[in-house]
Amino acid sequence: MSHEIFMPALSSTMTEGKIVEWLKNPGDKVERGESVLVVESDKADMDVESFQDGYLAAVLMPAGSTAPVGETIGLIVENEDEIASVQEQNKGNQPEVSTSDKLELVSNKTEEKPVVQNENIKKEEQEVVLKSEKPVPSFNSDQINAATINVSSRIIASPRAKKLASQMGVDLAKVHGSGPHGRIQADDILKAKGQPVSIPWIGEGGSPASIPGSNLGVESKQETSGNSFGNPGETVQFNTLQKAVNKNMESSLDVPCFRVGYSISTDKLDNFYKKVKQNGVTMTALLVKAVAKTLKKHPQVNSSFSENGISYPENINIAVAVAMEDGGLITPVLKEPCNTDLFELSREWKDLVKRSRSKQLEPDEYSTGTFTLSNLGMFGVDRFDAILPPGTGAILAIASSKPTVVANSDGSISVKKIMQVNLTADHRVIYGADGASFLKDLAYLIENEPGTLVS
């Protein structure tokens, strides 16, 4: 399984970054947290680190080139024997590893000492720069063309699916598309390769795009059957996680909760999401960012009850409920989303979901939430309310965004996508007016300024 290295956002205004130098060559071993390359923006440069242990399999953007924020610039694989296949698939994408690269590395190692270099090295450096001026396509177009020509009918596939197919060596002609009109989507490629689909069946969505058919007003076909942990007639013991959830839910019976709801128009948010989705941004990250930014203005809604009084946490940490396939649920926490840009936040979220499914989260990654989100939008529900987790003051239930006929204040009628959200709060610390004004500002942010969610 290969993992992508993305062009990071070094600042909120940065749209693209320049790759100064690859500190590792394809084939090199990398450790989690080890610097793999250096990216520059203006007079500042930053080391980009690997998110996991493995091997640098491919350099997709050579030193000297610039890439848009969020673009895949390299690939890391977990096992040494995967390097060859990934390299084979990305042939033509990688800059040649020439002696000049090696010389550059040598000169780096001497950075602590006065650099003793000669004119030859200077020339080599120039070569590296010249070579890298050629733009490199981010996927191997030859492979895709070949696949497309092989069949008589046209193959329709999403750009991400095409890219994945070329990276993973999947023949698009042999893939069955699950999207509208048989369009091949990224998941289909992963399935074809026998890999787990990276998008969790819950915790992601909120966008109407994930409910095919709903735009036509027709009920979408339910392909998955409902969950059941036992057979008819059986009583199945709770697993540890289910027991923990039960305890938490029961403790909410001692909390005097109230609920307050709001209908938010998501047309602008959906348009913005379409633009940033290709850079790996998830709807969950967008919603978390919007909620965190609004909480910053409404610290009361981030507070919780304690014996000594109203407790105001130092941080804003957003927990997001994720159902586990074998029962129970877990709430991975995105810490301080206001201090993390949208792209990194999306990556953090994907990493958290992946590790929560394999039960590899550290306690502080699921128990430090100060506010919780629960999103069932992907199932098309029009509204629901959530139960308050212990130790926090509020939880927001997010339903699906649906085209709705809206009467406007000027008497006109229009169709807008409307998403209902519902806040459950502990009335001992958060009052109706606190919750209402929080929702009003959240709605304003989502309806009018989704672009500000980038940073």
Partner: protein, 216 residues
């Protein structure tokens, strides 16, 4: 818990570039390992040397690297070649941007603003120029900036020309800008004392980043 303590070093004598660079790296590694470790501020002067960022173009160096007369260092920072020498006030800040703003553009603009404040204290009215990071007095560059960053922990910082041999800049194309004119603080205010400028640099860093300074 975030540690607001910053170790401050202000040597009076001229310091060798490499020693201070190593020291910065040590504090950067310290903060990478544990965020409760202190930040580090260094204010001083270097012997004559030239430094290049990791992405620097060697064409901007107008002398041969074989020429042993000059010390050249390639270091972890952005930007093109620059020059340090006695009479130039160099300031390094090793701090965790996660405690302030994870935004390198914000940090560069903040440093420009700080330098403008520092020079303003001595009645030298300077400005920044869009797209040309650094601080300028009319069309002359009076202060340069270069930052490196790992896991949002910064290294390097800025240098202000106080009263230095500006001819040394003629051996390079400073910051990659052709025909870039340089200026000294002393050109605009004859009654300056470098110790006084160091004191103000320290004061403004303390105010802007809200550090508790511990001298070392």
């Amino acid at each position: 818990m975030v540690n607001r303590t910053a170790i401050i070093k202000q040597p009076d004598k001229i310091s060798f570039f490499n020693d201070v660079y190593k020291l910065q790296k040590e504090y950067q590694d310290g903060l990478i390992l544990d965020k409760s470790n202190p930040s580090f501020i260094w204010i001083g002067e270097h012997q004559l040397c030239y430094t290049l960022g990791r992405g620097s173009n060697y064409d901007n160096l107008l002398f041969s690297l074989n020429d042993n007369k000059y010390d050249v260092f390639k270091i972890d920072r952005g930007g093109e070649v620059t020059c340090h020498m006695p009479g130039q006030l160099v300031t390094y800040l090793v701090l965790d941007l996660k405690n302030f703003n994870k935004d390198l553009n914000w940090y560069l603009r903040k440093i420009e603003d700080m330098i403008i404040k520092i020079l303003g204290t001595f009645d030298i009215d300077c400005h920044s120029r869009k797209g040309l990071t650094g601080v300028w007095k009319e069309n002359k560059k009076i202060a340069s900036i270069g930052i490196g960053c790992k896991r949002w922990i910064t290294i390097n910082g800025f240098s202000i020309n106080f009263d230095c041999e500006l001819e040394n800049f003629n051996k390079i194309i400073p910051c990659g800008i052709e025909n870039c004119l340089m200026a000294n603080m002393i050109d605009y205010n004859k009654n300056l004392n470098i110790q006084e400028v160091k004191r103000i640099v320290k004061k403004i860093i303390q105010e802007e980043f809200n550090f508790d300074f511990v001298s070392k």
